[in-house]
């Protein structure tokens, strides 16, 4: 363990001891054990992967809007095996599809939301000098980095990247061309990274809270990260196991997920390691086992994506309404209940696999139950606006937009969570619209809000508001034009994962033109991100310099200097009160920080 960072905060001036210690370039900027720098590494890497994953989608949107037409400008870059003459091949389309999902979920949103914001903000918000295990924290980032490199490298290997969807359902994933093996190895690294991170977050939250920071005084963001860490810790191991089993099916000829009697292209599958090789496959496996193990992770994973976003939004709303969050306790209890329930809804992804009445009744019921705490959280955040004095800062715009966007995402989950209405909508664009509303204009908007909100803490400078507003309004319009038409396409029966956008089928002819609209909207959305990228880099250097508490906020991270030094706080922070004491009657200012001592 790194001694310098594991001091209990009751030791006064924890920074003093190592203030003289000069770390070289490598240990400061590359192999850093400082939670803030690791958080920034995570956040920047995550943002780059989000950009990359989105770029894959902008390519796919071209193929969907204009099937078979050469990709303009950059079409020549992809080579003969991916896009000869600039025309995207189905194998390339499937690679882009599988990798878009994988990258956005496992390498973009989770690393940014948990690795980035969790690492940077959580120790500061609980008044800790660092994470409980700084070296494990560093390992967590580098495992993530290796996972990312593995996934990226697979594009350039024979057969290209994995192409069986981010869900990687066997037998397809096992017999398909493309680097499924690299996908599985990459996932091992990413899972390991999350497990190391979640252990660290849980220990840190339990052990390193500042004096006076009782559980019910924790900022809601810390609660969100805490529950998220339990989800990661408990849900990822089954997928890691499943990933190893699939890897064995792929490279060692086992049949965990491969049933007997498979016949591919009219030839009996004799060995999973290559249809042509002679050894006889044992068979006897079950493809549905993978789906259960996969969704046992991947449903809690949805809450791993959304809970940190709710945490960020709550912080921003409390700060910019200048009043306490409404129903703090109800929010916390709903969050914990949501986390628990997220473990017993997974098979609602599998209604079409031949599920009987008892099983489907159980999973439909749990799915309806899990919607209730989401309703409570959304309602509490809305009610927090009543009586407020709302400042429309850039982070607040993103936080406010999160509410209706997440609302659409949540509500459209209802017809999918009820098995009979799911019959028509399953595997259509309705599903894509549903979960993208949750994750894109929902979570990713919250993450952008978080970047604008905590940027001054990380850099000592504010981001530009005009560029921020352009980024916000442009993104809001464009993203809705991408995703809202998906509900119409889905109701019409347009299937997902179609190389030509469903042009083969008679029943979707009437909605095909939306593909063109969505294409332009997606490319416009890409352009609007330039405002963010320029703002981000420009503000590091030329942003308006700010003091330690530019938003006049109440939680402990604003007691530290901006940016905080190694060890974080100049004096040991003590929490004297609840996290959101804004507009306290009789107080001189409209905010009373947690760290401000009571006046005698």
């Amino acid at each position: 363990m790194d001694k310098s960072a594991t001091h209990h905060p009751t030791v006064a001036h924890p920074h003093v001891e190592h203030a003289h210690e000069e770390l070289g370039f490598w240990r400061t900027y590359v192999f850093s054990v400082d939670h803030k720098w690791i958080g920034i590494q995570y956040a920047v890497t995550g943002l780059l992967f989000l950009l990359f994953g989105f770029t894959l989608m902008m390519l796919m949107r071209w193929q969907l809007a204009y099937p078979g037409r050469p990709i303009p400008l950059i079409g020549g870059l992809f080579g003969q095996d991916k896009a000869p003459g600039g025309i995207m091949l189905p194998e390339f389309y499937n690679q882009l599809g599988a990798m878009h999902g994988t990258i956005m979920v496992f390498m973009g949103v989770v690393p940014l939301a948990v690795g980035g914001f969790g690492n940077f903000v959580l120790p500061l918000q609980i008044g800790a000098p660092d994470m409980a295990f700084p070296k494990i924290n560093m390992m967590s980032y580098w495992a993530y980095f290796l996972g990312g490199v593995t996934m990226l490298a697979s594009f350039f290997m024979p057969g290209g990247a994995a192409q069986s969807g981010w869900t990687s359902y066997p037998p397809l994933s096992v017999i398909n061309q493309g680097q499924q093996t690299m996908w599985l190895i990459g996932m091992m690294f990413l899972i390991t990274s999350s497990l190391l991170g979640s252990l660290n977050f849980i220990t840190t939250t339990v052990q390193l809270r500042a004096k006076g920071l009782s559980w019910m005084r924790l900022p809601f963001f810390v609660w969100a990260q805490f529950v998220t860490s339990f989800l990661l810790l408990l849900a990822f191991p089954p997928l890691e196991a499943a990933g190893i089993l699939q890897l064995m099916d792929k490279v060692a000829g086992t049949s965990f997920f491969m049933p007997s009697g498979l016949v591919v292209s009219n030839r009996i599958v004799t060995s999973m390691t290559g249809i042509a090789q002679g050894s006889v496959a044992s068979g006897g496996g079950n493809p549905l086992l993978w789906q259960h193990l996969f969704w046992f992770l991947a449903h809690p994973e949805v809450y791993v994506l959304i809970l940190p976003a709710m945490g960020i939004v709550s912080e921003i709303i409390a700060n910019n309404t200048r009043k306490p969050l409404w129903g703090y306790r109800a929010l916390v209890y709903s969050l914990v209940f949501l986390g628990f329930m997220s473990f017993i809804v997974w098979a609602h992804h599998m209604f079409m696999t031949g599920m009987g009445t008892t099983m489907s009744a159980f999973f439909q019921t749990t799915t309806m139950i899990i919607s209730i705490p989401s309703v409570v959280i959304l309602t509490a955040l809305l009610m927090s606006l009543v009586g407020a004095s709302i400042r429309f800062t850039t982070p607040m715009l993103f936080a406010l937009a999160f509410l209706p966007m997440f609302g659409i995402g949540g509500l459209t989950g209802l017809p999918l969570g009820l098995a009979p209405s799911d019959i028509h909508l399953h595997d259509t664009y309705y599903v894509i619209g549903h979960f993208h509303y949750v994750v894109a204009p929902g979570t990713i908007f919250a993450l952008f809000g978080g970047v604008y909100y905590w940027f001054p803490k990380a850099t000592g400078r504010k981001m530009n508001d005009l560029l921020g507003q352009l980024h916000f309004w442009g993104s809001l319009v464009a993203i809705n034009l991408v995703f809202f038409p998906m509900f119409i396409e889905g109701l019409a029966g347009m299937n997902r994962r179609m190389y030509d956008g469903g042009a083969q089928f008679a029943h979707t002819k009437s909605v095909l033109y939306w593909n063109v609209v969505q294409g332009y909207a997606a490319w416009a959305l890409g352009l609007f991100q330039l405002f963010f990228i320029v703002n981000f880099f420009m503000s590091i250097k030329w942003g308006k310099a700010v003091d330690r508490n530019p938003w006049e906020a109440t939680t402990l991270e604003w007691a530290a200097p901006s940016p905080p030094p190694h060890g974080n706080f100049l004096t040991e922070p003590i929490a004297y009160r609840a996290p959101y004491e804004y507009s306290v009657p009789g107080a001189a200012k409209d905010f009373t920080p947690q760290f401000e001592p009571e006046r005698a």
């Binding site: 499937n94 037998p171 397809l172 017999i175 398909n176 007997s260 016949v263 591919v264 009219n266 030839r267 009996i268 599958v269 493809p287 409404w326 696999t353 031949g354 599920m355 009987g356 009445t357 489907s360 919607s371 209730i372 309703v375 409570v376 959304l378 309602t379 509490a380 809305l382 009610m383 606006l385 009543v386 009586g387 407020a388 004095s389 709302i390 406010l400 509410l403 609302g407 209802l414 017809p415 009820l418 009979p420 209405s421 019959i423 028509h424 595997d427 109701l491 019409a492 029966g493 299937n495 994962r497 190389y499 030509d500 083969q504 089928f505 008679a506 029943h507 909605v511 804004y582 409209d590």
Partner: protein
């Protein structure tokens, strides 16, 4: 909303759609309610209009009422619509002697159809007999296989008579999507899963593979012909005649 959806061509389609529409009404009421409230509070409580925030915030029990309302609405949907409707789909299968019984065996990237023929019994299939000419590996030496009719991508069914499909797959997971019939069921290798419906409209429809199954997934299209009873019999007789010179 129905105008966006494909026509209803099966007996249970209206019931499924009714439920889908009910759920969307619930969603619309919640969204419009939330949305109107949201726009009002954002406007009413902007800092310009309300420079001093209230420490206490909202009072009253509107939110409790809303939450209880949502619970009740979801329970009604679940107990009176979803669970019974699903039970009809997966439990109350028509008796085989009153139904058109057919096997559908999916493969990359086609739908193989096997009819049992006049004897009503499906012939044995074996993986080792599979070839380009015999995609399902039907064992013609099996006595009950002699009158079996096999088709590729052509599923003919008589109107107004229950259909029982035994669905399976040779290679990977596919999904048997009949949008006009409001039927969808994954075809999973190693499993045979029954699906049933009653087609009610004569016409030509698509069988759309709804689960990513490889490079040709997007063009894995089959053709479903719902015919009058007489047309169907005539078609079936022609197919049976074609069988006589046994291969």
């Amino acid at each position: 909303m129905l105008s966006y959806m494909p026509i209803q061509a099966s007996a249970h389609a209206a019931e499924i759609d009714q439920m889908t529409i009910l759920v969307h009404w619930l969603m619309a009421v919640l969204f419009v309610g939330w949305g109107a409230f949201f726009i009002y509070v954002v406007f009413r409580y902007r800092s310009g209009a309300n420079p001093k925030a209230s420490y206490e915030g909202a009072k009253g029990k509107i939110s409790k009422g809303l939450e209880i309302g949502v619970v009740i609405a979801e329970m009604v949907l679940l107990v009176f619509y979803a669970i019974p409707a699903w039970a009809k789909r997966v439990k109350q299968f028509p008796p085989e002697n009153e139904a058109t019984v057919v096997r559908v065996i999916a493969e990359q990237f086609a739908w193989n159809i096997q009819y049992p023929g006049p004897d009503g019994k499906f012939g044995r299939t074996k993986p080792e007999l599979v070839s380009a000419d015999n995609p399902i590996g039907l064992d013609r030496s099996d006595p009950v296989a002699k009158d079996d009719v096999t088709e590729i991508n052509q599923l003919h069914l008589p109107v107004d008579r229950p259909v029982l499909v035994h669905l399976s797959s040779k290679d990977v997971i596919h999904s048997f999507g009949l949008y006009e019939m409001r039927v969808k069921q994954d075809a999973i290798p190693g499993m045979s899963i029954p699906v049933w419906f009653i087609p009610t409209r004569i016409g030509e429809y698509d069988i759309a593979c709804s689960q990513l199954c490889g490079l040709g997934h997007f063009r894995m299209r089959g053709f479903l012909s719902i015919q009058s009873d007489a047309d169907y019999r005539k078609w079936m007789d022609d197919e049976l005649k074609g069988l006589r010179p046994a291969r």
